[in-house]
C-alpha cells in the first residue's frame, strides 16, 4: 500500500532533470556559501537568523520545494487553463511595479512584500512561456500566417517592453530567447539568418568607423550589382531590393546606431558595451569584468580548492553571489570543475529538448522548448559576461545565483515542465 502510493506520487517524473535540478541548486548553495563564508563565522546562527545570502537562499530553496510539490500535485490541465490568466496577471504585476516599485541598484523592478523583495520580471518569464505555449497550441493558430507570428511576437515582446521601462534591460533581453521556440515551431530559418546578420551589422557599426563602413557597403553593393547585372537586366525589382538593403544598412550604421547610443541607451550601458568590445579601457568600467576574469583565470586546471579562492572570498569580484557566482566555481574548482559544471547545464538543456520532443501536445512541447531557451539564454549571457565575452548584463545564472525570485521562477518553470511531461499521454491545449 505504502509502495503503491509512492509509485503513484512519483510516477512519470523525469529523473534526470529532477536530479540535475537538485545538483544545480546544491552547487549554487555551496558557491554562495563560498562567496560569503569567512573563517570564524557561526554558520548555524547565520542560517537561523537568515543573516547571510546562503542562509536566505536555503530558505528560498525550501519555499521552492514547497512550490514544486504543489505544482507536482496539480493537474496538468490547470496550467493550460491558467496560461492566459497568468499572462494577464504577469502584465498587471509588471505595470504595478512601474507604479509602486522600488529602486534597487539602479533598476526600478522590485516589489516589497512582507519585508522580502521580489522581482516580478523574473516571474513573468513563466507567464509569457505559458501564454506562448497556450497560443501556439490553440487550434485556431496557424503559425505559418504572418498574423499569428506577430501575435506570438507580441506575447513575448510586451513584457520585455515593460521590463525595459523598469531599467532591467538584461532581463528584458531574455524574452528574445522565445524566438528560438518560435523557430522550432516554424518561424522561417531566414529570420535566424537575418537576426545573425543584424547582430553582425550592429557589431560592425560599433567597431568600425561609420564613414568607412558606408564606403564598404557601397563597394559591396557596387560589386553585387556588377556581378548580378544580367539578372538585374531581367528583373528590375532585384536592383531595387539590392539598393534597398544598401540604403537600410547605410542608414542603420550612419543614423540609427549613433541615435540609439546617444539617445536610447544609458551611459553605463554604452560603456559596458564598449568595454566588452575592447573600445574603452576605463579601469572603472572594466573593473567588474576584469576582476571576474582574474578570479576565474587564477583557478587554473584544478582550482584553488573549495573555500580557498582569494578573489571571491575577499570580495574582489562584485555581485559574486548573484550575477558573478560562476567566478566562485571557476576559482575554487578550476577548468575541470568549470567544464563539469557547464556540462551539467548542457546535460540539462539537451535533456529538456529530448523531453520536449517526446511531447504529444504542442502546448507541452512549446513550453519545454521555452524553458530550454530561457535557461540557455541565461546561461550563455551570464557565463560569457563573467569571462569577458559579453557586456555586463545583470542576469542571474539559473538555479545557481543567489536570489529568491529567480530560484522560485526557475523551479516553477522546470516543475511545471516535469508535470506536463509526466502527463505527456494527455493532449493538452
Amino acid at each position: 500500500m505504502n509502495r503503491r502510493s509512492q509509485t503513484k506520487l512519483t510516477q512519470g517524473i523525469d529523473w534526470p532533470i529532477f536530479g540535475l535540478y537538485f545538483a544545480l541548486v546544491f552547487i549554487g548553495l555551496m558557491a554562495i556559501f563560498a562567496a560569503e563564508y569567512r573563517e570564524g563565522d557561526n554558520i548555524m546562527q547565520n542560517i537561523l537568523h537568515l543573516q547571510k545570502n546562503y542562509a536566505r537562499q536555503l530558505m528560498w530553496f525550501g519555499v521552492s520545494i514547497v512550490l514544486a510539490s504543489i505544482i507536482w500535485l496539480t493537474d496538468s490541465k490547470f496550467f493550460t487553463a491558467m496560461g492566459n490568466l497568468a499572462y494577464a496577471f504577469g502584465i498587471i504585476l509588471l505595470l504595478l511595479v512601474l507604479a509602486i516599485g522600488k529602486d534597487v541598484k539602479g533598476s526600478h523592478s522590485w516589489l516589497t512584500i512582507g519585508g522580502f523583495q521580489f522581482q516580478p520580471a523574473e516571474l513573468t518569464k513563466l507567464c509569457a512561456n505559458l501564454a506562448l505555449a497556450k497560443y501556439l497550441s490553440s487550434l485556431e493558430t496557424d503559425f505559418n500566417k504572418l498574423r499569428s507570428r506577430l501575435i506570438a511576437a507580441a506575447i513575448v515582446l510586451i513584457p520585455a517592453a515593460i521590463i525595459i521601462l523598469q531599467d532591467e534591460t538584461g532581463l528584458a533581453l531574455v524574452y528574445f530567447s522565445f524566438f528560438l521556440v518560435m523557430y522550432r515551431e516554424g518561424l522561417p530559418g531566414i529570420l535566424l539568418v537575418i537576426a545573425f546578420s543584424g547582430i553582425v551589422l550592429v557589431l560592425s557599426a560599433l567597431l568600425v568607423d561609420k564613414n568607412i563602413l558606408f564606403i564598404i557597403f557601397t563597394a559591396i553593393t557596387a560589386l553585387v550589382v556588377y556581378f548580378m547585372r544580367r539578372e538585374i537586366k531581367r528583373k528590375r525589382s532585384r536592383l531595387a531590393m539590392i539598393l534597398g538593403v544598401w540604403l537600410f544598412c547605410s542608414a542603420f550604421v550612419m543614423f540609427v546606431v549613433p541615435f540609439i547610443f546617444t539617445k536610447v541607451l544609458k551611459d553605463y550601458q554604452v560603456r559596458r558595451i564598449e568595454v566588452m568590445l575592447g573600445k574603452e579601457n576605463d579601469p572603472k568600467a572594466t573593473y567588474n569584468t576584469r576582476q571576474s576574469m582574474i578570479a576565474i583565470g587564477s583557478g587554473g586546471l584544478f582550482g584553488k580548492g573549495y573555500l580557498k579562492g582569494t578573489q571571491t572570498r575577499f570580495d574582489f569580484v562584485p555581485e559574486q553571489s548573484t550575477d558573478f557566482i560562476f567566478c566562485t566555481i571557476g576559482e575554487d574548482f578550476g577548468f575541470v570543475g568549470s567544464v563539469i559544471f557547464i556540462g551539467i547545464f548542457l546535460a540539462l538543456l539537451l535533456r529538456i529538448i529530448f523531453v520536449a520532443e517526446r511531447q504529444r501536445s504542442t502546448f507541452s512541447r512549446v513550453y519545454a522548448y521555452g524553458v530550454a531557451s530561457i535557461i540557455f539564454f541565461h546561461l550563455s549571457i551570464n557565463i560569457c559576461m563573467t569571462i569577458g565575452l559579453a557586456p555586463v548584463i545583470g542576469i542571474p545564472l539559473p538555479l545557481v545565483s543567489y536570489g529568491g525570485s529567480s530560484l522560485m521562477t526557475f523551479t516553477m518553470l522546470i516543475f511545471i515542465m516535469l508535470r506536463l511531461d509526466a502527463d505527456r499521454q494527455m493532449v493538452l491545449r
Partner: protein, 647 residues
C-alpha cells in the same frame, strides 16, 4: 507544422552545443593557457605588512632610562561605519567645531576611501585620550583608538643630544641609503636617534596577509609560512650622566652658552648642555607639529646645539695649549720666563697685559696663574718662528698641525650629527688673509686665545682631556656600549682608540697643570675651588666682536672656563662658555666647578648650595632676548604631562 521537426531540433541542439564549446574554449585559454591571472590574483589579494619592532631605549651611565617608548593613541575613523554617534560630544572633547569635523571626515574619505580607516586625530594628548576612552561607546561604530608608540622623556633633558624621531621625508626616501624605509615610517632625524638609527630601529618583520577588496586584512597567508619576525631595536648605554646633564641645564637657565663635560679616561661625554635648551617632550609625538616652528623661531634658538655648533674664541683658556705646543716643540722649558711690563711690545705695537708687576711671568707656572698675555703671545711666536722649521710659513703650518692634532680646526667626530669644525689659522689661511705678506706678529693674538680662531665648546673640553691625560685623548662620544653588540657593530670602534698628540715631558705637563692649579687656588678661578679636590682650570674672557652692517662692534665678552679634576687621575674635564657674561671667573668658573663637584662627589655640598641657586637664578642673556623668548612657557607646557614619580 510537424511534431517530428527533427532538422530544427538539430539546429537548436547545434546552437546550444556551439555556445557551450565557445565558453569552454574561452575558459581553456583563461584558466590554463594564460598565466597572468594567478599573478594578478595574488597582487589583488596578498598584502605585505611591515611589522615594526619596538625602538631601542637609551640609558645613562648609571642605567637610568633617559627615554621611554610610550603608548600614544590615534583616533581613527572608518567613514562609512559612522552612524548615529554623538558628534557634538566628540567635537567637544577634541575641541573642534562641526565644520572641522565634516572637513576631517571628507579628508579621510579622500585619502583612504570610505571603508578603510584613516586618522581623524593623531597622537592625542593624554587628557583628551582619557576623555575619549571613557566616552568611546558614544562614538561607535565608526571611531576607534589605535595605539602608536611614541618617545617620551621622563627627565625632560638632553633634547639636543637625543634628537627626535619623525616621519621620513620624501627627499630621504629617494636616497638609496634609506631604501628599506617606506613613506610614513619613523626615523631618527637628529641627535643620537639619527646616528644610531640602525641600532635603535631593530629589524622590521614582514607579515603576508590576505586582504579583501577594500584592502582590509583577513588573516595570515598560508598560516604565516612566509612571514619574517621583527627583531626589537637594541638599547644604547651612554656615558652621559643624566643628573649631571639636568644640573647643567638648570645652571644654564636664562643663559646662552654651553657646558661640555667629558670623562678623560674614556672620552665619554658626561654632559653637553646648550643654553637655552628645551624639553625634548616638546618635540615628541603630537607636540612636535605644534612646537617645532616655535622652537626654531625662538630668539634663544634652542634647537641650535651650542656644544658642537657654536664658535667661540677661547680667550685665556687657550693659554695652556700655547704652553703645551711650545713645550712639545722644545722652544721653551717650564722655567722659561718673560719680562712683561704690562704690555707686549715686540710686534711694534702695544698689546695690553692685565698684569704689570715685575716677575708675574717669571716661569710657565707663574705666567699661567697670572694669565700673562705677553708670555703666551711670545710662546706662540717662539713656536712658529722656531729655527728648525726654517720660516714662519712652515712654523705656522706646524703650529696649526699641533692644534689639529688636539682636535681643533676639524670635526672631532662626536656621535651626533651637525658638528662644526671650528677654525685654526694655518699657512694657507694666513696667505689668503694677508695676501702672502705676514709674519708671526700678524696673528700674534692667537697665543692668548684671541684673533682668527674658532673653537667649539666640545673642542675646548676635549683639549682639557688632553692635558688631564698628559697628552692623549679619546674621541668624545656619548654612547658607551650597545646592548647585544657583536663584531658587526663597528660604529663604536673609533671611540676606543687613544690618540696621542703631545710627547712633552712629565715635567712640562706638570708645569702646565700646576699653573692651572694655581689659577684655581689663588688666581682668577678661585671660585672654582672644591673642598677636598684639586681642580685645575683656566678662565677665559673671550672677546666678542660682531659685524653689524659694515662696522665691527665690540659686544660684551663671553665668560669661558676650562678645567679638569681631580688633578691626579682626573675624572672629569669640562669647558663652560656663558655668552655675554663678562669675565671667566664670574659665571663660567662657578658653573664648571658645581658640575665637577656634582659629578665627583655625586652631590653639591650645603655650603655651595647658595652659589648654585644664585647661578640658576641669575640670567645673563639680554633682557630684550628674554622678553621675546617664549621658551620658558613652552618648556612649562610639557612639564605637566610628565608623571612626577618619574622624576
Amino acid at each position: 507544422m510537424s511534431v517530428y521537426n527533427q532538422p530544427r531540433k538539430r539546429v537548436i541542439q547545434f546552437i546550444i552545443i556551439a555556445m557551450v564549446s565557445i565558453i569552454i574554449t574561452r575558459l581553456f585559454f583563461l584558466q590554463i593557457v594564460d598565466k597572468q591571472y594567478s599573478k594578478l590574483a595574488d597582487a589583488n589579494a596578498v598584502l605585505k605588512k611591515v611589522v615594526y619592532p619596538s625602538r631601542g631605549i637609551i640609558f645613562d651611565r648609571k642605567g637610568k632610562s633617559i627615554l621611554r617608548n610610550d603608548a600614544m593613541y590615534d583616533l581613527v575613523v572608518t567613514p562609512r561605519s559612522v552612524k548615529g554617534i554623538d558628534t557634538v560630544q566628540l567635537c567637544k572633547i577634541l575641541n573642534i567645531d562641526r565644520d572641522e569635523f565634516v572637513k576631517r571626515i571628507s579628508l579621510a574619505i579622500n585619502r583612504n576611501g570610505p571603508v578603510r580607516q584613516s586618522v581623524f586625530a593623531s597622537l592625542l594628548p593624554p587628557e583628551v585620550y582619557g576623555q575619549l576612552q571613557e566616552n568611546m561607546y558614544l562614538f561607535q561604530p565608526g571611531f576607534e583608538l589605535i595605539l602608536r608608540p611614541v618617545r617620551s622623556y621622563p627627565y625632560g633633558t638632553a633634547a639636543n643630544i637625543l634628537g627626535y624621531i619623525g616621519e621620513i621625508s620624501p627627499a630621504m626616501l629617494k636616497d638609496s641609503a634609506y631604501a628599506s624605509y617606506q613613506s610614513g615610517d619613523y626615523i631618527g632625524l637628529t641627535g643620537l636617534e639619527k646616528t644610531y638609527e640602525s641600532v635603535l630601529m631593530g629589524q622590521r618583520g614582514i607579515q603576508y596577509l590576505v586582504r579583501d577588496n577594500y584592502n582590509r586584512p583577513q588573516g595570515p597567508l598560508e598560516n604565516g609560512a612566509y612571514d619574517t619576525a621583527a627583531i626589537a631595536g637594541r638599547n644604547l648605554r651612554l656615558a652621559l650622566d643624566i643628573e649631571l646633564q639636568g644640573l647643567g641645564e638648570r645652571l644654564m637657565t636664562g643663559k646662552i652658552g654651553s657646558i661640555v663635560a667629558i670623562d678623560p679616561s674614556t672620552g665619554g661625554i658626561l654632559a653637553m648642555v646648550s643654553g637655552a635648551t628645551y624639553d625634548p617632550n616638546l618635540l615628541s609625538g603630537s607636540n612636535r607639529a605644534r612646537n617645532f616652528a616655535k622652537l626654531v623661531l625662538d630668539t634663544t634658538n634652542p634647537v641650535y646645539n651650542r656644544g658642537i655648533q657654536a664658535y667661540y674664541v677661547p680667550g685665556s683658556a687657550m693659554k695652556p695649549l700655547s704652553a703645551l705646543i711650545a713645550l712639545d716643540e722644545g722652544v721653551i722649558t717650564p722655567s722659561y720666563g718673560y719680562p712683561c711690563r704690562g704690555a707686549y711690545l715686540a710686534c711694534g705695537r702695544s698689546i695690553r697685559c692685565m698684569h704689570s708687576e715685575p716677575g708675574h711671568a717669571s716661569s710657565l707656572r707663574v705666567a699661567m696663574a697670572h694669565s700673562c698675555n705677553s708670555y703666551f703671545m711670545h710662546l706662540y711666536r717662539l713656536s712658529v718662528d722656531a729655527p728648525k722649521w726654517g720660516g714662519v710659513k712652515a712654523g705656522q703650518q706646524k703650529w696649526a698641525e699641533y692644534m689639529h692634532a688636539m682636535g681643533f680646526g676639524h670635526r672631532v667626530g662626536v656621535d651626533i650629527p651637525n658638528e662644526k669644525p671650528g677654525l685654526i689659522p694655518d699657512s694657507a689661511y694666513m696667505n689668503r688673509r694677508y695676501r702672502g705678506a705676514w709674519n708671526s706678529c700678524s696673528e700674534v693674538y692667537v697665543g692668548m686665545g684671541q684673533g682668527a680662531m674658532n673653537f667649539t665648546p666640545l673642542q675646548m673640553a676635549n683639549a682639557m682631556c688632553i692635558i688631564a691625560n698628559r697628552g692623549s685623548y679619546f674621541i668624545p662620544h656619548f654612547v658607551h656600549s650597545i646592548d647585544g653588540a657583536t663584531d658587526k657593530d663597528t660604529i663604536l670602534n673609533k671611540y676606543s682608540v687613544r690618540h696621542v698628540v703631545a710627547h712633552a715631558s712629565d715635567s712640562a705637563f706638570k708645569a702646565v697643570i700646576m699653573g692651572m692649579q694655581d689659577v684655581v687656588e689663588h688666581g682668577t678661578g678661585r671660585v672654582a675651588q672644591i673642598e677636598g679636590i684639586i681642580v685645575c682650570g683656566k678662565t677665559g674672557t673671550a672677546e666678542n666682536k660682531a659685524r653689524i652692517g659694515d662696522k665691527v662692534v665690540q659686544l660684551k665678552d663671553h665668560s669661558v672656563f676650562v678645567a679638569f679634576a681631580p688633578r691626579d687621575n682626573p675624572k672629569i674635564a669640562i669647558a663652560v662658555v656663558v655668552d655675554n657674561a663678562g669675565f671667566g671667573g664670574t659665571y663660567a668658573a662657578p658653573i664648571a666647578s658645581l658640575m665637577m663637584e656634582k659629578y665627583i662627589n655625586d652631590t653639591i655640598s650645603a655650603k655651595r648650595k647658595p652659589l648654585m641657586d644664585r647661578m640658576i637664578a641669575t640670567p645673563t642673556m639680554s633682557a630684550e632676548m628674554r622678553a621675546k623668548s617664549k621658551l620658558d612657557s613652552l618648556n612649562n607646557s610639557v612639564k605637566r604631562y610628565l608623571n612626577p614619580a618619574d622624576k
